[in-house]
Amino acid sequence: MTALEQPSQPAIRRFPIRPALLVPVAAVGFAALVGLALIASIGVSVPDAIAAFVDGTIGSPYAVAASINRSVAFALVGFGFVLANRANLTNVGGEGQIAVGGIAATAVALYGHVSALPLGLAFILPMLAAVAAGAAWGAIAAVMRVKAGTNEVISTLLLSFIGVWLLYWCVQSPLLLRKPMTSSATLPESLEISDETKLPLLTGDYSFPLHIGLPLTIVIAVVVAVLLSKTELGLRLRAVGLNPVAANRAGMSYARTVIFALASAGALGGLAGALMLLGEQYTLKDGFSSGYGFDGLVAGLLARGSVTGVAAAALLFGFMRSGGINMEMVAAVPTALVVVIQGLIVITLAGATLFIEKWERK
């Protein structure tokens, strides 16, 4: 046989734009441009809209703090998503978990006789109640998955509706959390929680209302990252996610892993609800969760398993939402437009990532 020289190995194609950070930046820029075009098309002055957006995000210490407080809630739901997703479970129930967390936090803060407790227990106990409620909400879906094979995408989503309507019932019924009806004009909402149960602010200054949710979330981010990468439990989540049959054969319990994963995701969602109630809203009302669960879910999806990715996406969404609200109030741009832009960012980011991966594989 003729001996030919070994054919040279084709180099693996690398996408020319590096580092990969440029891709999300370009995607955000593109979506922003489309958004501005849309704003112009409805007859709003573009400079006014931009000014309002900037004002609502970084225009004042208050705006920055409010944006970060929002991001914290998104991030917690996103971390939960990533955690469950490591076991190949898709938790789309953040909205309901936030709702039950809010209900539990309100109930304990108002009627749990915690206001007089020392050492911060006044706000820690409502928080723990919210964590437990969220974990239970997630665990319901996990048990359905383990016992009956119910797809957790369906069950967590439907549990979300139940959670949101449960909250509606709680604030509508005077027997539950609705504040005493003194007149027919009494709003369907709870009493405001006492000052002792409100989350302490980092600076103590209401013009910069950043609360202890931020450091708490940073700690949780580190815990989740370490759990996923350094512990046996993290490896077990991954094993069960990648191949449940082989993991079972190797002696790992599918049921326990799934319940842990979804209950943890739920617990983080519940905690997000507690932070929103105890740190910002102080009264429970209808529409309390206001889509935070879904924004957190998107942050988790976009991050593709990375804790820092969740943090980045959560910050982006938090600031965008604040800016959007201000655009609506000041420049009369519908908030819906901000949602449209957010959707555009998600699609361009996901699309760009797919495109790069395909290009490199060719």
Partner: protein, 525 residues
């Protein structure tokens, strides 16, 4: 470029010629500078180990892949099949390694599938099938459902599907892997008839017995290159083997040699008489029903002594999967008991079974035996990760050191313990799974199902080396395999499974081959 085909030599003009074909998948070169001719009227065998590039070659001819370099000529003209449909239209038919039949349709409908549009002429097709049956000795009921047919009959359907198109080139990719001994003979017979009618047959195989019996010419592939050719294969068989495995035939492990049909006899029978009987694994009246209530394993009773290798023979799908799944704790039996010594293991969890000292090498390595998306080290210690955990934290350094020692001991070849399991070759993956199960601290019984499937000769030898060593240590071994040669050479005793029942048992003596073959086909002895 065009040096191999000579248009003036009419008698030897090739039907198909490959000229310096190269095919790459990413950075992996599957075929490199492969040239060969297929002549009308010949049976051309492609011999090579797993991963040598045989299937890639078939897929190039059949238009599934396109070559990256070189040229193909078919009937004297350049040949660039756009896809399988194009290759079929030009008279090339292929029987794939895995069946492509719709199981709840009839034979006739499967044959018609993709061939006709509008109104199906079932009756005409059935008549054609009957003609073919007479011509080639391929009896088939045209109106039988595929799911009611045996594996051998299903393959007959695949062959008929090809022959009904009267192809001028007939490609068979490892067609004998799933067949009974009699069926193999019949298949080779069909190949001869096709070739003698002036058409060409390409038979891909790694079994030398078939080559001895039927090949007109042989091309040997190794590592994607043509390393030997022969026009007198029966005489050159030793040279061909040496080319295929790149080694000395005499030093080859006897079981590995028997796997490729080289030495059907057992090299040295171990002395089993002196051994004192002591039962390790005892399976008592095990019965398994599938979810539809059909009996998959029927009153299966078997005892494996310490230091004994019991082989379970049978055509695949006769209850072997259910047997190993129950023993592994992955399936609940409808009845019966499993004991390890005095310990009852019926309905135990996989964890309890591992703790009791039963190692399981599952038949489906990728579905059950490993997690391909995790690292080699993680896979080697998948069932013992707690040994490397302190306060919940995984001590990765220690894990990888231990895994590296295992890699050394079991000759698992990889760049390091941290590589992704999926980057390993099949042989190395299997050695890693075997390493994990055979090094259980208190191993008393090893259940190995199809442990050498898809492995090359070197890996087969290594797997048997370890299984024998375990046996010498007094481990009870239950070896489930559809390769009769393998069982005859490795096992002490063979039981034959047919439709979930034990048809019979006998000593693993090559003289019993015929009897075992008959039992595999369902004839009680």
């Amino acid at each position: 470029m065009d040096s191999t085909s000579n248009p003036t030599a009419t008698s030897a003009e090739p039907l198909l010629s490959l000229q310096a074909i190269t095919k790459r998948f990413g950075s992996f070169t599957a075929l490199s500078d492969v040239s060969l001719d297929i002549r009308p009227g010949e049976i051309h065998c492609i011999l090579g180990e797993n991963g040598a590039g045989k299937s890639t070659l078939c897929n190039l001819i059949f238009g599934v892949h396109r070559p990256d370099g070189g040229a193909m000529r078919y009937r004297g003209a350049p040949f660039h099949p756009a896809g399988p449909a194009d290759a079929l239209a030009q008279g090339i038919a292929m029987v794939h390694q895995h069946f492509s039949l719709v199981s709840d349709m009839t034979v006739v409908d499967n044959v018609l599938l993709g061939r006709e549009r509008g109104i199906l002429k079932r009756h005409d097709c059935a008549e054609q099938l009957e003609k073919l049956a007479v011509e080639y000795g391929l009896p088939l009921d045209p109106y039988a459902k595929i799911e009611d047919l045996s594996v051998g009959e299903r393959q007959r359907v695949e062959i008929v599907k090809c022959l009904i198109r009267s192809p001028s080139l007939f490609v068979l990719d490892e067609p004998t892997a799933v067949l009974l001994p009699d069926e193999i003979t019949a298949l080779l017979d069909v190949c001869r008839r096709v070739a003698s009618s002036g058409r060409a047959v390409v038979l891909v195989t790694h079994k030398l017995a078939e080559i001895k019996k039927i090949a007109d010419r042989v091309t040997v592939l190794r590592g994607g290159r043509v390393v030997a050719t022969s026009s007198t294969p029966a005489a050159d068989i030793d040279a061909l083997v040496r080319a295929m495995i790149q080694g000395n035939v005499d030093t080859l492990d006897s079981s590995a040699a028997s796997m490729i049909g080289l030495k059907p006899e057992k090299a040295a029978r171990r002395d089993r008489e002196a051994r004192t009987r002591s039962e390790a694994l005892q399976i008592d009246g095990l019965t398994v029903r599938d979810y539809q209530g059909a009996m998959r394993l029927d009153n299966f009773t078997l005892t494996v002594d310490r230091g004994e290798i019991v082989g379970v023979a049978g055509v695949e799908g006769n209850g072997q999967s259910e047997l190993t799944a129950v023993l592994a704790g992955m399936m609940t039996p409808a009845g019966g008991h499993v004991y390890l010594g005095d310990l009852e293991l019926t309905n135990s969890s996989p964890k309890q079974i591992t703790a009791a000292g039963v190692g399981i090498v599952p038949e489906d390595r990728h579905a059950v035996g490993c997690i391909t998306g995790m690292s080699l080290a993680e896979n080697i210690y998948l069932n013992r990760l707690d040994e490397f955990t302190r306060y919940g934290f995984l001590r990765r350094g220690e894990l990888e050191n231990e895994a590296a020692a295992m890699m050394e001991r079991f000759d698992v070849r990889a760049r390091g313990p941290g590589v992704l399991f999926s980057s390993l070759s099949g042989g190395n993956q299997q050695k890693a799974v075997l390493a994990r199960e055979i090094t259980l601290p208190n191993l008393t019984c090893l259940v190995a199902a199809q442990p050498t499937r898809g492995l090359d000769v070197g890996a087969v030898a290594a797997v048997y080396g370890h299984i024998r060593a375990a046996c010498e240590r007094g481990i009870a071994i239950l070896l489930v395999s559809s390769e009769l040669d393998e069982l005859l050479s490795v096992a002490d005793r063979i039981v034959v499974l047919y439709r979930g029942r034990i048809m019979g048992s006998c000593a693993a003596d090559p003289a019993q081959r015929e009897a075992i073959g008959a039992m595999m086909a369902g004839q009680a002895q």
